[in-house]
Subunit: 200 residues, 2 copies
DNA sequence: TTAATTGACATACGCGATGTATGTGAATAT
DNA sequence: ATATTCACATACATCGCGTATGTCAATTAA
């Protein structure tokens, strides 16, 4: 086998640091995570950290982006599996909320992320997710399936509901029980954008 | 007039520190707010801070409690002025959106609060704004005007929509135009919780 | 009125963590 | 083979929190 090149080793340390970051940030929270301990647990020093990510926030941004991108991908897959359209949109939302059961996601993405990195709608991963929602809503609007309200506004509000639901589940004492309530409320509110109300 | 007693002076310093906390936390965020600078801006030292509030988190809790209480009062007033019921709920939502336009509220109560103090429903203030929404929804549920979904969940989702709307408006190029879109979208989603008699 | 005591706040210190400046050795280029 | 780059380690400066201790005015008691 071929010897490791320099770029390969650097990528290796980036992966190690992000992995260590996920563990430390999830377990102790961003504020209480020591970069000395974190880098040591990866067999490195803070030198590697500041060379690769600039500062502590840089590592958090990288960790959040990795996790949030994976979340968006899973949500999109669920939407496609549900056949797209309205059912797809609901499946995306439901999946996003269910992911909030993961303690790592709860702590890093839903709690510390907004506090230390700012408004989530400015995150690269969140913007991608928003564009996907806008596209789906656009199709539904062309079909006359939803009320004539500004598409971007609807997309932002829907994502806001899902994010808020996820946050609620994340901080709940009983995540499993809260999950069902959150999903029901999400679908209830979402039904408001449909032209035809569901019969119950 | 009577000379200032000791308890009166202490209350004065508490007021000064909370006021300084609101300014510093809103402008620099909780994490980057220096207690040295904060207390100095109030003409005091960190000694007063730790004597009155125990630690940095104690001051944040006091600040959040004060703001959260004021928010609840304004929302309730708006709801009452609209005559309660569904109109009152919509008025509360609009009020919440307008309140969340305040950068101080955005940063301290809506972002740093949950991150550093934990789940808002566990705050000493018990998130009074949310409680007001829950109370109104309870009335509507008794009247059979809304779908049978968990009241707390609905309240949280509605507030989540309002929060997201406010954040969007706040960062918009044209806040006035965006505000109308946001409120329309809010009312659109909110209508999802109403039962529609004509479809039964 | 005056001496004793309380307590609200200031001052001083230790500890830990971040960020930067500098050093080093292995991989790459000439 | 020598020079150079650069990924990372090491060493250092700084800053901010929390605590321990000091101080002086306001209260209390005689």
């Amino acid at each position: 086998m071929t010897a490791k090149t320099r770029a390969e080793k650097m990528e290796e340390t980036r992966v190690k640091l992000i992995a260590a970051g996920r563990k430390a940030f999830a377990h102790k929270g961003y504020a209480d995570a020591s970069m000395d301990e974190l880098t040591a647990s990866a067999g490195l020093t803070r030198g590697a950290l500041y060379h690769n990510f600039g500062d502590k926030l840089g590592l958090l941004a990288a960790v959040v982006d990795e996790i949030d991108s994976a979340m968006a991908q899973k949500a999109k897959d669920a939407g496609d599996a549900a056949g797209g359209g309205w059912n797809g949109l609901m499946a995306e939302g439901r999946t996003y909320i269910e992911l909030a059961l993961d303690p790592e996601i709860q702590r890093i993405v839903l709690r510390d992320g907004p506090a230390f990195l700012g408004d989530p709608s400015n995150w690269p991963s969140q913007n991608r997710c928003l564009q996907a929602t806008i596209a789906t809503l656009g199709e539904l609007a062309d079909q006359g399936a939803i009320k004539s309200v500004d598409i971007e506004a609807l997309a932002r509000m829907l994502n806001g509901v899902a994010l808020n639901a996820a946050l609620w589940v994340a901080t709940s004492d009983d995540p499993q029980a809260t999950l069902h309530k959150a999903i029901s409320a999400f679908e209830c509110l979402a039904s408001g954008v449909l032209v035809k109300q569901e019969h119950r």
